[in-house]
């Protein structure tokens, strides 16, 4: 249970949002050139980090915007929120 600060609407309960998984996994530019290993890496392999994870959330029951969150998965503490297309704060 935690509160997420939507960059557009402010602080809301996490139940207003839907989770979009690990962030910064870029869709391959040239899918036809990919080997099976590279496809597996893109489609299935995940860091599944215990610790600070960069992830995507959508404010499904609010402004419906996507954005990124830096959350510690070992205690659900959110360290920062940043917009789509931005790189995570250092």
């Amino acid at each position: 249970m935690f509160i997420i600060k939507c960059p557009y609407c402010g602080e809301r309960d996490h139940s207003e949002f839907s989770y979009g998984g690990e962030a910064h996994i870029v869709r391959p530019k040239q899918p036809t050139e990919l080997s099976d290993d590279q496809w597996a890496e893109y489609l299935f392999m995940r860091k599944n980090i215990k610790g600070l994870q960069y992830e995507r959330w959508n404010h499904a029951h609010g402004c419906r915007q996507w954005f990124n969150v830096g959350r510690d998965t070992s205690n659900d503490k959110i360290h920062f929120v940043y917009k789509m297309g931005e790189s995570p704060p250092k």
Partner: protein, 417 residues
């Protein structure tokens, strides 16, 4: 040698007020070297060690557990055991486990309280009916007992289910696997631990693995909170923490770790003598021998290692439970807890070698691996000892995510444990 548990040992020990029972397993310090080390002292890890010692004659082995044995998902699950999975590979693998359950108390000389009280899977819409009937046929073709019950038969088999056509998701029928049921979770861990220990396996608790030492493409040993342990074979059975251990070895797994919750009610008189599951509304319930209703909730949507879940998930489950069983409406819930489950994209496990020599993974059981405990240990032991999979776990290799040969069990597994 261990004393055999029997009615006579029970009577004998009653005379000394049960104060002289032998320890069930030793509490050894780790040796410097082992032939194989199993990481994770849950049911699967302990079963692996048991079968390695028993069937593959590997005695110089250890199980290292960061907390206490059975303290992970083994001790947190709702203990549903069944084998009515859709695909041939899964059906064969889960039924192998179910057959081992059927003789497990005798095998281990430890009462695991395996109770074949039947498991029902309810259908609430046309799609459910089709899907579950298809699964019934698939099961029967695979020699797995499965029956289809009409709404009237559902009512007859479990009379407290609300079979009124007026509820939001009416009951349109159900499958029933009569050989399915429940077992006592702790007893499974303890029974395997006792059995493995008596064959010389070292069970080392409060010993966390912190690193995996590699030399090129093979393993050399593990760094633990009790020092370095040298070994050439490492079998990792760490459930929700599998990815953490994979990271230590420098490989990636296709897993996501999420919280999954369960709860029990105050104890009441016997009211439900089977297990009833419903995928569509996500509710399932059984009753423990203590009289508590055992209710499983769902997973949270996001990755988290906090081992607790959110209230909305519990609320959603309880709403469905109350619609299906109005008789429970005054019941109070006593305890709620969570576990961290390792979910695979195709809802099937991984019991496999890896690209690193001597490193084996048994993971991805997600929300439904308790039922497989004996089979999983048995097949993983084979894989480690022979350095190749048994034919029953060949399909559950890690390469299927590259080849695309997935074992999609979302229909049979999904939220239904």
């Amino acid at each position: 040698m261990k004393n055999k548990y029997s009615i006579f040992s029970l009577i004998k020990n009653a005379f000394s007020y049960h104060e002289n029972w032998q320890r069930a397993w030793r509490d050894p310090e780790p040796k410097k070297t082992y032939d194989a080390v199993i990481v994770g002292g849950g049911g699967h890890g302990l079963a692996t060690a048991y079968y390695l010692a028993k069937e593959h004659n590997l005695k110089n082995i250890a199980v290292v557990e960061k907390g206490w044995i059975g303290g992970g998902n083994t001790g947190r699950n709702t203990t549903i055991i069944r084998s009515n999975y859709l695909w041939d590979a899964s059906a064969a693998m889960y039924d192998h486990a179910l057959k081992l359950w059927e003789g497990l108390s005798q095998e281990l000389n430890y009462n695991v309280m395996f109770s074949q009280r039947g498991v029902m899977n309810l259908a609430h819409n046309l799609h459910d009916v089709r899907e579950l009937k298809r699964r019934t046929h698939a099961n029967r073709l695979n020699g797995i007992d499965c029956e289809w019950l009409s709404t009237e038969e559902v009512k007859k088999f479990c009379s407290i289910i609300n079979c009124s056509p007026d509820i939001r998701y009416p009951v349109l029928g159900s499958t029933l696997q009569r050989r399915a049921g429940t077992a006592r979770h702790d007893a499974v861990a303890w029974g395997y631990a006792r059995g493995a220990d008596s064959m010389g396996v070292d069970i080392i608790q409060n010993c966390e693995v912190k690193g995996i030492k590699r030399k090129g493409d093979s393993v050399e040993g593990i760094e633990t909170t009790k020092g370095f342990i040298k070994t050439s074979k490492i079998g990792i059975v760490a459930a929700g923490h599998s990815s953490v251990l994979a990271n230590m070895a420098g490989i990636k797994l296709p897993l996501e770790s999420k919280p999954l919750q369960a709860l029990v009610s105050e104890p009441i008189k016997p009211i439900i003598d089977t297990v009833v599951m419903s995928n569509a509304v996500h509710a399932y319930v059984s009753q423990s021998d203590k009289g508590e209703l055992v209710i499983g909730a769902g997973t949270d949507a996001y990755i988290s290692y906090t081992q607790k879940g959110t209230h909305e998930v519990v609320e959603g489950t309880l709403k469905a439970i109350l619609e299906l069983y109005p008789i429970f409406s005054r019941l109070r819930m006593l305890r709620q807890w969570g576990g961290v489950v390792d979910i695979c994209p195709d809802a099937s496990p991984i019991i496999s070698k890896t690209s690193i020599k001597g490193l084996y993974f048994n993971c991805g059981w997600g929300t439904g691996g308790f039922k497989a405990t004996p089979g999983s240990g048995n097949l993983f032991a084979h894989t480690i000892a022979k350095d190749e999979p048994h034919k029953l776990n060949a399909a559950f290799n890690i390469n299927r995510f590259v080849s695309g040969d997935l074992v999609d069990e979302h229909g049979a597994a999904a939220v239904a444990h």
